[in-house]
């Protein structure tokens, strides 16, 4: 399916989203919310083509919808599909060699993701939760802070000698 990301690895990532997203609910009380699906979408976008990235984005988003107690099925499916293509394009344009740059990329993508979901909720429901709007930036910051290092280590495990800057 891909140049260097096998189906087995994709299944592992889906299972990872299901398990970790469900497990992270224990941290919500402490104010933590890391968008693991977004981190994995960015990770997968590095190794896949543009169409494959969008399909994986959609798959990961729907998985997050199912396990993350989202109010509507398809919210993250929609947003992650769009974000996956943006991630695919950005990864090939930017130099992302350390985890700070990866964190910045995640911050940017997470904010886009949050606003897409907010827009959808506003369009589809008569009374969108205002708490969701208030949490967009804080969630993006948390995802960037914790997701950046995670992305960095995933990348090191996958290809120890390469980094984002060496993509053709």
């Amino acid at each position: 399916m891909s140049r260097s990301l096998r189906k087995r690895e994709i299944l592992v990532l889906v299972a990872g989203i299901m398990l970790l997203q469900t497990l992270s609910s224990a941290l919500f009380k402490a104010g933590f919310y890391v968008d693991l699906a977004l981190v994995f979408v960015v990770y997968a976008s590095r190794y896949l083509g543009p169409a494959e990235s969008t399909v994986i984005g959609c798959l990961f988003g729907l998985t997050q919808d199912i396990t993350g107690l989202q109010p509507l099925l398809g919210l993250n499916g929609f947003s992650k599909t769009a974000v996956a293509l943006v991630a695919f394009l950005l990864i090939r344009k930017l130099v992302l060699s350390d985890f700070w740059s990866k964190s910045l990329l995640l911050l940017f993508l997470s904010i886009i993701d949050g606003f897409i979901i907010l827009l959808l909720m506003t369009l589809l429901t008569s009374d969108p939760p205002s708490a969701l709007a208030n949490s967009v930036v804080s969630r993006a910051a948390m995802t960037a802070l914790l997701g950046g290092p995670l992305l960095y280590f995933l990348d090191k495990i996958k290809s120890p000698e390469k980094d984002f800057s060496q993509i053709e």
Binding site: T22, G49, A51, L72, L85
Partner: protein, 289 residues
């Protein structure tokens, strides 16, 4: 299979976005899509149950590990004995607490005109998504949508979606939720709604009604979901603005961060209720002997 589409990424993107939009529209239109929500709960249930099991065991494991480290550092038999006794006391205290909780649940079950099912909370949603919870009881245990969920301290919420083995609970602090309420003192009727800060708002109480901080707010039984007289919360503050009604903030009696077990109310069959009104004894299973 998808690789050939890499030359036409926009086509792929458009198709996926439209598919997701159709999925969303299906759920929003006329409240359909309950079956979708139910199916997603069924998919999620094994993962949630497994993680709940793993989490509880992990906590036990770390507690034991910490106990072991303490024991090694003390290195004295008397301290070992002390430690064992302390652990025993803790275990007994937790047993006592559990017994009290179960006693409270039994009391609630006995005074209610409903059959009840106890269920544990196995997953919680984040506050910005309304703090929804998942409990480990579903249609197989007779749980239906709009069943009231309570704890001895008061009202928790209602069953929003019921899957086969698990159900999603919409707590009353969710901004989308509403509960028919009555003020404990004046008996004025109003509607309780959740607020984004985790508190509650009591709506539709006119300025002529005297409301003071500390007044109790109970369910009115008018909404067809919650039985009458269950505690919801206490009035925290009252503001008289320029609007027709008072602005009343209510603190819930239930600590939503600490809910572990819940009681789900299921309406009894009509014949059982008639028997109860006629004074016949009803067994725990809801049947007359």
């Amino acid at each position: 299979m998808i690789a050939p589409l890499n030359n036409r990424p926009l086509l792929c993107l458009t198709l996926l976005l439209v598919a997701n939009l159709l999925l969303l529209s299906f759920q929003v239109q006329n409240g359909r899509g309950k079956s979708l929500a139910s199916a997603s709960l069924a998919i999620e249930a094994p993962a949630a149950n497994m993680l709940n099991f793993l989490r509880s065991n992990a906590v036990d494991f770390f507690r034991r590990y910490i106990d072991l480290v303490d024991t090694e550092t003390s290195n004295q038999s008397l301290r070992l004995e002390n430690r064992r006794l302390l652990l025993e006391i803790k275990r007994l205290l937790s047993l006592t607490e559990a017994a009290k909780r179960i006693k409270n649940f039994d009391r609630l079950a006995s005074i209610s005109d409903f059959d009840t099912t106890t269920a544990s909370v196995i997953q919680r949603g984040p506050p910005f998504l309304g703090s929804v919870m998942v409990v480990n009881a579903g249609r197989n245990q007779g749980i239906r949508e709009n069943s009231a969920v309570i704890v001895p301290e008061g009202v928790v919420g209602r069953i929003q979606t019921s899957g086969l083995w698990t159900s999603r609970v919409e707590p009353i602090i969710n901004p989308q939720a509403a509960v028919g309420a009555v003020l404990g003192g004046s008996r004025n009727l109003g509607v309780i709604r959740g607020d984004v800060d985790g508190s509650l708002r009591l709506h539709y109480i006119p300025h002529s009604v005297e409301v003071a901080a500390g007044d109790t707010v109970l369910t009115s039984g008018m909404d067809g979901i919650y039985p009458k007289g269950l505690p919801i919360g206490r009035v925290a503050s009252v503001k008289h603005g320029n609007e027709i009604h008072q602005k009343i903030r209510v603190d819930p009696t239930v600590d939503f961060n600490r809910i572990e077990e819940t009681l789900i109310l299921r309406a009894r069959p009509l014949n059982d209720l008639k028997d109860r009104q006629n004074g016949k004894e009803i067994t725990a299973s809801g049947k007359t002997p």
